[in-house]
Symmetry: C2
Subunit: 132 residues, 2 copies
């Protein structure tokens, strides 16, 4: 048995200034920017409630887009489950997260838990069922 849920939407921004992009989206959506720390790197976060997916921005070099992440307490089991549904493995990045491609053509990531316990909106999956 493992758990997973929709973790966040990330606005991948091909911009010179990720703080300017965060300011635009903060004002556009009426969501404060979470003050960045040295660990924020090329990421910024807009405030969201515990009930919502997180709202992130990331400075990137590819074209701007939005992608979503699924967070899980068992990366291997979750990737196998998604493969069984028709997703394809694209890359295992920094030995921390998987990039997959959905049958709908969207690339998304499967990541470690991003904000503690996987409680609201999480689903418990029967790993034995995936193996059958």
């Amino acid at each position: 048995m493992h758990r997973s849920r929709l973790s966040n939407f990330i606005l991948d921004c091909k911009v010179d200034d990720i703080d300017a992009a965060a300011t635009f989206w903060s004002r556009a959506l009426g969501r404060a920017v979470v003050p960045p720390t040295p660990e924020s790197g090329n990421y910024r976060e807009l405030t969201s409630s515990k009930e919502e997916p997180m709202l992130l921005l990331q400075q990137v070099t590819h074209d701007s887009r939005i992608h979503l992440d699924i967070e899980t307490d068992n990366l291997d089991a979750e990737v196998k489950r998604l493969e069984a549904l028709g997703a394809k493995r694209i890359a295992f990045v920094k030995e921390r997260w998987w990039v997959l491609e959905a049958p709908s053509g969207h690339r998304f990531c499967v990541v470690q838990p991003q904000r503690g316990a996987l409680d609201s909106h999480a689903t418990a999956w029967d790993d034995a069922a995936t193996k059958r």
Copy 2:
């Protein structure tokens, strides 16, 4: 004074079968598909709580991507507010919603209220401030 908020994320799906795409994402995210009605057209919805942005899928002919919508009780005032922040008008579609482009390169829509009152996570904007 007008109000707006993040309304939804839409997975634009370049697929032959939007129901198959909805089934994949339903199982991937652990969110039931809201049973489609004749009015659903090329849209499908995954369940979300009132506190969250809605999760929609749309069958499209352009490449698959994800975009977000902002809902508002005053389309004109909201588009002017977003223009003042640096967004550009792209198109007014079916005389119902605006497509804008953010300074970060993302296209997004400004739409009429999608699910009744703009209560949780909405912001009230002072239109006089935008005009100054």
